[in-house]
């Protein structure tokens, strides 16, 4: 498994270069690091966090990421706003920054 010592503490926090391999390794600091990797240059705003926490809670409850329709309707944002917040898209953007593992199948 490709790894990066994302916390810099030598304690084996695995980052699959792509998605976090274990959702339990996530923290808000790690989210900021993942965000920089994903074209979110100016740091995470309250709007970002609303989506991130929604996506994360959905995964922890249902063991799968939410459909895009659920994200926009339940977070009260448009698809355009979602794409502006996460230029890499729902999965490569929001799922990744929320610490979800890479979904199976094509994304």
């Amino acid at each position: 498994m490709e790894t990066t010592d994302i916390k810099g503490d030598g304690k084996g926090t695995f980052h699959c270069e792509d998605f976090l391999s274990d959702i339990n390794f996530w923290s808000m600091d790690i989210a900021e690091v993942l965000a920089k990797d994903n074209k979110i240059a100016d740091g995470l705003t309250a709007d970002h966090w609303k989506v991130i926490m929604y996506v994360r809670e959905h995964y922890l409850k249902y063991e799968r990421g939410p459909e895009v329709v659920r994200v926009v309707k339940d977070c009260g944002i448009s698809l355009k706003e979602l794409c502006n917040l996460f230029p890499c898209g729902l999965v490569r953007g929001a799922y990744k920054v929320a610490g979800l593992p890479r979904p199976h199948g094509c994304i």
């Binding site: 490709e2 895009v68 329709v69 698809l79 199976h104 199948g105 094509c106």
Partner: protein, 440 residues
């Protein structure tokens, strides 16, 4: 194995003369020079030995001479799994370059099916196949979420076209077209659904989207399970028949197009009484027949086209995507080689679901990265969702700075609809005035 052997497969298993022509055609070999274990003939021999051991008379009479053998231990099974899943995307580039016509992808798929039958497969492949069996689509999208997404995109269509009556009909019987999609379009990014809806709207098409049997992808192609392949394709066909649709149109997806249009009737053991075509053909026809007008200046920038393996090599869909692309962009640059000789995006054959092979896959993508760079294009266009995923991954890994898009997006962008929208604005403004006048 005996149940899976066809004449075509036995021909491929016995015809190899070990000339090495396949070696230069495989992206794994080209990106791993000096490692013979990636050569198609080497990989094929790992499967061929099973055939010789169990079925071929030469394997019974001269086993050592013909290198007949089987797999007996868990280690050998997992080694075979790593070869058939991790070292081949079933792209068939070796086949089109083989003087004997050996079709490695066909018996590689057979070997995958045998391994899946005994429960040996990558975790991602098992997970997605299970979702397709049990829920009816590869991303586990529930019917209510599917319908809510379509209705949401219908609202977007109404807003864009200034027409409150614009519809994306669901389960409309007797339609000319039944339009089926990739679950990714529902789960992750519905913009391609809206793009298609805009095109259908502008063309005045009589179409519908089915409420079930809407997933045209098929993991049976990737895991070698013909029963899964038949079940998934069968659901699509059954729904088209139930709706009495005249034509099945498949959104841009390489393996989905091949599975649904070409392979599915064999897997499902069903003769289908309706036509099936790729949405690429549909969009091209609309432009040629004048049903939609496009303005290529609406898609500025430079574009190249990636032929997805299943569309191009397996189904011959090479000219229509190019013709369509040339109508909707000004700066189209071919990559080389192209058409049936194009290199795999490295994401095919279910590879995007196999995280354990990602480092090897991305290493093998070097040849594709070089091919993309050489075009100097800003955007690569493809007609396959798996290719979008595979190309996006390798573009990020090799830092090429390119975008990836599909033809439906470019056609929708290029649509000339000002006159339609203006007419709608006037029509519905008049109606509103009349109804507010009547209510006073």
């Amino acid at each position: 194995m005996g149940q899976k052997l066809t004449r075509q497969m036995v021909g491929s298993l016995t015809a190899c003369v070990h000339c090495g022509m396949c070696t230069d055609s495989c992206h794994y070999v080209l990106s791993n020079p000096g490692d013979p274990t990636f050569a198609p003939a080497y990989k094929a021999d790992k499967i061929r030995k099973l055939f010789k051991h169990h079925y071929d008379w030469t394997g019974k009479v001269f086993p050592k001479w013909v290198k007949a053998g089987s797999v007996f231990t868990d280690e050998e099974l997992h080694e075979l799994k790593d070869i058939v899943f991790g070292k081949c995307t079933n792209c068939r580039r070796c086949t089109v370059n083989c003087p004997m016509g050996v079709d490695l992808a066909t018996f590689n798929r057979m070997a995958r099916g045998l391994l899946c039958h005994v429960g040996i497969m990558p975790e991602g492949v098992e997970y997605v196949a299970k979702e397709q069996w049990e829920i009816g689509n590869q991303m586990g999208v529930l019917k209510e979420d599917y319908i809510e997404t379509i209705e949401w995109q219908e609202e977007e269509l109404q807003s864009e076209m200034e027409d409150p009556t614009a519809k994306i009909p669901i389960d409309k019987p007797d339609s000319n077209i039944v339009y089926v999609i990739n679950p990714r379009e529902i789960k992750h990014d519905p913009r391609s659904i809206l793009d298609a809806a805009k095109i259908f709207y502008a063309a005045g098409e009589d179409y519908t989207m089915p409420s079930e049997g809407w997933d045209m992808t098929n993991f049976g192609l990737f895991n070698g399970d013909d029963e899964l392949g038949g079940a998934v394709a069968g659901r699509v066909y059954d729904k088209v028949e139930e709706l009495r649709g005249k034509k099945l149109v498949i959104s841009e997806c390489g393996h989905g197009y091949r599975s649904t249009r070409c392979e599915g009737p064999n897997w499902a053991k069903k003769d289908i009484g309706f036509e099936a075509e790729s949405s690429v053909i549909t969009m091209l026809r609309y432009i040629k027949e004048g049903k939609i007008k496009v303005d290529k200046t609406k898609n500025p920038g430079s574009f190249t086209f990636h032929d997805s393996c299943n569309n191009a090599r397996s189904c011959g869909l090479t000219e229509e995507p190019r013709e369509l692309l040339s109508l909707v962009v000004e700066d189209f640059r071919e990559m080389y080689p192209n058409r049936a000789e194009n290199y795999c995006c490295t994401g095919g054959g279910g590879a995007m679901s196999m995280a354990e092979y990602r480092p090897s896959r991305l290493k093998s993508a070097k040849i594709k990265a070089d091919q993309l760079s050489a075009t100097g294009a800003k955007t690569v266009v493809t007609s396959c969702h798996n290719c979008v995923d595979g190309l996006t991954d390798l573009i990020g890994h090799y830092k090429l700075g390119m975008d990836v898009t599909q033809l439906v997006n470019l056609v929708a962008n290029a649509l000339v609809t000002d006159d339609i929208v203006e007419e709608n604005k006037n029509k519905y403004a008049e109606k509103e005035e009349v109804s507010s006048g009547a209510s006073q």
